[in-house]
């Protein structure tokens, strides 16, 4: 395929979500799932310069029924990583010299390919990560949004910036690609997050090596296919499914310029530390774009509408089994409302439906793997030992019988202030609730946390809303609504403090993380004359 400059792009609009309230949409998704199941297992090989390398020794499975193998996947080595970086480096001059409009056109075409496979991709996400239909569909829509949004941002960014102008000199500032970007992605948004990071790096002219999560290689392969099918040159993107080895190799590689990472705090800090070392053969400082964990607090003031608080908390804390970095973990309620809210929330948690992700209406699916079950079980034990379990939703015997990694959703109160369950990220369906004397007391607690990703506030006083908005350090404060479900272009997303570097994905400044400024100052005076 040849690259041709596209017509000017229409203004960005979010990709519509599927209207799951319509029976026809649900039928189409169920059919897509059956079609996918008939084609399992898929293949997700290591791909460097468009060519497969090595075998397919790894497996990704359905967490709800682990005997169902989703994909046979490659197991990239450090040598594969080195080969991928070398190939990306070779491709860099041509790709970074490609006009921004052409690079943007590749993204827009890739978005169209994802759109064409909408149902199939939602089914794939659902199977590979046990993500229920509404969230799986939103994942595809968000991936499309990132491609479309960054395409437009990149075209705008290619225009020279206005600088102060004086007679006798011509000043311009432009943004140039940095070089090879390594993208290290998580499994919980298996299409959207790698899609966003890869799209941002590519569209600004970087070449990319993608290391997807070991739990979701097939989703990454689908992303790769969409971009290559849209006309992306083979040298611009390389795929390294596997374990930690290729990721570690990428981080310390002298020819990697940018590392875009989304994942745990521990891994993120390790990357930051290693990326700071300049190794032999490295002629630049590495930049790390990182999105890490959170411990997200929702504050409920005395004037909140409990009717709205309960469903919003239920969804924020338990949808997709709480495995979103934006998920609600801790509720701080004004003492005047505590008893009422705790009682009603407990009643609501007991109604949560745990079960297979493919069943429409299931609230809490299996968590990603046995390791997650173990981690959550540790916190569950803490809840029982140190606090009062207000509610626990039942685990259906049938679901667990299939060997799925299910855990029971929990609402916990009465924990001592220093209990780790109140301070560490659980990444599971656990919610804690505590009374506070005032909104300011709640803000103090939020302030004391090293995390600052998302936060919530329920209040019907404009004064309180303004006050908390001014005080809170979190990256995104959601007022009188659920705290998950950020939409590209509307709710730029990214944590502050130890939750991340502060970049906001899906926001107007995100692409700046993938470029470096270049300024040209030209003297236009010749022989004392301005020419």
């Amino acid at each position: 395929m040849t690259l041709t400059a596209a017509a000017p792009l229409a203004p960005f609009a979010n990709e519509p979500l599927l209207e799951l309230r319509r029976g026809a949409e649900r039928t189409a998704l169920t059919q897509a799932l059956a079609d996918l199941d008939a084609h399992l297992p898929l293949r997700a090989p290591v791909i460097v310069d468009g060519a497969e390398r090595g075998g397919l020794p790894r497996r990704s499975v359905d967490p709800g029924r682990p005997e169902r193998v989703l994909a046979r996947a490659g197991d990239a080595s450090a040598e594969d990583a080195a080969a991928a970086v070398a190939a990306a480096r070779r491709a860099f001059p041509a790709w970074s010299a490609t006009p921004a409009a052409e690079r943007a056109a590749v993204l827009v075409r890739a978005a169209a390919r994802l759109r064409d496979r909408r149902y199939e991709l939602a089914a794939l996400i659902l199977r590979e990560t046990a993500k229920p239909w509404p969230e799986a569909d939103a994942d595809v829509a968000e991936a499309i949004d990132f491609l479309e949004y960054y395409a437009r941002q990149a075209v705008a960014l290619a225009e020279p910036r206005e600088l102060v102008h004086v007679t006798g000199e011509r000043n311009t500032m432009t943004y140039a690609a940095r070089g090879v970007a390594a993208v290290i992605a998580p499994w919980n948004f298996p299409l959207a997050i790698p899609g966003g990071m890869v799209a941002a790096a590519l569209v600004t002219g970087n070449t990319v090596v993608l290391k997807p999560s070991e739990q979701a290689p097939a989703c990454a392969a689908a992303l790769y296919d969409a971009l290559r099918g849209a006309g992306l040159p083979a040298g611009a993107l390389h795929l390294l499914p596997g374990g930690d080895e290729p990721a570690r190799a990428l981080v310390v590689h002298p020819h990697v310029h940018t590392i875009a990472f989304t994942g745990s705090s521990a891994a993120g800090r390790d990357i930051l530390r290693k990326a700071a070392d300049v190794v032999p053969g490295q002629h630049h400082l590495k930049r790390v774009v990182c999105e890490m964990g959170g411990k997200n607090v929702v504050i409920v003031d005395a004037d909140a509408d409990v009717d709205e608080v309960v469903p919003a908390l239920l969804h924020s804390a338990f949808a997709f089994a709480g495995q979103k970095c934006s998920a609600a973990a801790r509720v701080l309620v004004h003492a005047d409302r505590y008893d009422a809210l705790a009682e009603r929330l407990a009643g609501a948690v007991a109604t949560l439906e745990v079960g297979e992700a493919s069943v429409f209406g299931v609230d809490v699916p299996a968590v990603i793997d046995p390791e997650a079950v173990e981690r959550i079980a540790r916190y569950t034990a803490m809840a029982h030992a140190d606090g009062t379990v207000l509610a626990q939703a039942p685990l259906p015997a049938a679901a667990s019988a299939a060997g799925g990694t299910y855990v029971a959703p929990l609402l916990v109160a009465g924990l001592p202030a220093d209990c780790p369950l109140l301070h560490e990220e659980v990444f599971g369906p656990l919610l804690t609730i505590e009374p506070v004397a005032s909104v300011d007391a709640a803000c103090d607690i939020v302030d004391a946390s090293p995390f600052a990703l998302t936060g919530g506030l329920f209040s019907r006083s404009p004064a309180t809303v303004a006050h908390v908005a001014a005080r809170t350090p979190v990256g995104s404060l959601y007022v009188n609504r659920e705290i998950t479900g950020a939409r590209v272009g509307r709710h730029p997303f990214g944590g502050n403090r130890l939750s991340g570097g502060g970049t906001k994905a899906g926001g107007p400044d995100y692409l700046l993380a993938f470029v470096e400024g270049r300024v040209v100052v030209e003297n236009t005076v010749r022989h004392g004359m301005v020419v």
Binding site: A346, A348, E353
Partner: protein, 485 residues
């Protein structure tokens, strides 16, 4: 729960937005009869004017073209039940008005501040007084009283016993009622059980209380036979915490046992149960649940029961065919009542669709919605031998059209029921009764906290620039109001 039927292709052409009004499947003379009917009703309504409603209408009129002020007042009404005490109400009022006046929410009060910048004088005064220690409670009391007065117009009483005198008074005046239980949202099984128990309790109380009502033949009989005196409206969303837009079967299955119990009690007491319609997110659950329970053998002989049909949905014609098809296939001793409304969730439907990127499922042109209502009225009246048509609207044109259509078909006066909401349609109900028609007022009961969501919705509806009631209150000429949409 098996789905009852899925609407497939619409039976007739789906009306396009803003298309020129096609002549209704003509029953001759309907259009010509409307002005006289409408004028007579309007005159009769004038005799039943509620002075409280008039004061409120004037106030609403003043704020209707100030969306920011309107929002502030609604937000105060909304937060009122959650306020600790009077000073707390005053603080909320001040903060809300600060927002309107475009000031920093915590700005200090300067003495030159009276009256507030862009606020109408009384509200500017209230804002300043609310900031002062001595007068704060006063403002809070006034705010609370205002909210209570508004609520009193719409809500018949705190519980069934409390509401019984109002129900009896209306009955004596020739107006039947349907009682609706306001309540907090249902988020747990216990709350769903409590709502079911309240429903059953209300059925018993009203049944005992209405036994000695005087006979009102027009209200107690129609072409299909006897009509119950006791009439209860229920909401499926209150009967289950499991409603999910993407899984209608889940909510329906969970609400079914509770609704079944209510239906059994109603059958034994000879009462009517009407299932209200909610937002489109839950239409499939509400429809499938209601129709599948009514098809169960134990309910073949009763109770009298009904469902609601919303004309504002662009697929309303196809959906009505689903209901009529079910009625044809499912003979019951008490034919299905179908309450035709425009729909109470218009803003929600538009906002939700716009935020998610969906085709807006409702008409966005008022006249297109009103035309569809008249078309559906015609279809319903054409099937008065199959179902019980109920026309629920406060729009004089919509109602006058239905009356004309009823008469043009030679239907008896009791063959169609007209319905209004308490507090919004009281003068219209009286006028309809005077016209010799069968009329019923929908009477919510519950306390102020529970009723707030309902109250805010009614107030918003009443003051929407698009509403018939507002056009009427602000003095639009009657012949304009009665024009064909």
């Amino acid at each position: 729960m098996p789905p009852v039927a899925t609407p497939t292709a619409p039976a007739g052409p789906v009306p396009a937005e803003g298309d020129p009004a096609p002549p209704p499947p003509a029953v001759a003379g309907v259009e010509a009869a409307i002005p006289a009917i409408g004028t007579r009703l309007a005159k009769a309504m004038g005799r039943h004017h509620d002075p409280r409603a008039a004061i409120e209408a004037r106030m609403m009129d003043r704020i209707a073209d100030r969306p920011d002020l309107r929002a502030a007042i609604f937000r105060l009404v909304d937060v009122r039940p959650a306020c600790r005490d009077y000073p707390d109400i005053a603080e909320h009022l001040a903060a809300l008005l600060d927002e309107v006046a475009g000031r920093p929410p915590e700005g200090p009060v300067r003495s030159g501040d009276l009256p507030g910048g862009e606020l109408p004088v009384p509200l500017g005064l209230a804002r300043s007084l609310a900031r002062r220690h001595g007068s704060r409670t006063l403002v809070g009391v006034a705010g609370a009283a205002g909210v209570r007065a508004m609520a009193g117009r719409f809500i018949a009483g705190e519980d069934a016993a409390d509401a019984l005198p109002a129900v009896r008074r209306l009955w004596k005046d020739g107006i039947a009622t349907s009682v609706d239980l306001l309540g907090e949202a249902t988020v747990s099984e216990a709350e769903a059980d409590a709502y079911r128990d309240r429903c059953i309790e209300v059925l018993r109380t009203l049944s005992a209380g209405s036994a000695r009502f005087p006979a009102r033949p027009l209200l107690e009989h129609d072409q299909h036979g006897e009509l119950p005196r006791v009439n209860l409206s229920v909401k499926v969303s209150a009967l289950t915490p499991h409603l999910r837009a993407g899984a209608p079967g889940r909510g329906a299955a969970s609400a079914a046992p509770r609704l079944r119990e209510i239906l059994r009690v109603a059958r034994d007491l000879h009462a009517h149960v009407h299932v209200d319609m909610e937002s489109l997110d839950h239409r499939e659950a509400v429809r499938d649940l209601t129709l599948s329970l009514l098809a169960e053998p134990e309910f073949a002989a009763g109770p009298s029961a009904g469902i609601v049909h919303q004309a504002y949905l662009t697929d309303a014609a196809a959906e009505l065919e689903v209901l009529l098809g079910w009625a044809r296939r499912t003979p019951r001793a008490q034919p299905l009542s179908i309450r035709l409304v425009k729909g109470a969730y218009w803003d929600h439907e538009v906002v939700e669709a716009q935020q998610a990127g969906w085709t807006v499922p409702v008409f966005t042109d008022r006249r297109a919605c009103d035309r569809e209502y008249e078309r559906l009225t015609d279809t319903l009246l054409d099937h008065a031998d199959l179902v019980r048509p109920l026309i629920a609207s406060h729009n004089l044109r919509s109602v006058a059209h239905a009356i004309a259509a009823q008469r043009a078909r030679g239907l008896e006066p009791d063959a169609v029921e007209y319905q209004v909401l308490r507090g919004l349609g009281d003068p219209l109900a009286a006028a309809l009764a005077a016209e010799g028609l069968r009329v019923r007022t929908y009477c919510p009961i519950g306390d102020l906290v529970a009723g707030m969501a309902y109250l805010v919705r009614r107030l918003l509806e009443n003051t929407a620039n698009d509403s018939f009631l507002r056009a009427h209150a602000s003095g639009t000429a009657l012949d304009r109001l009665l024009e064909a949409p």
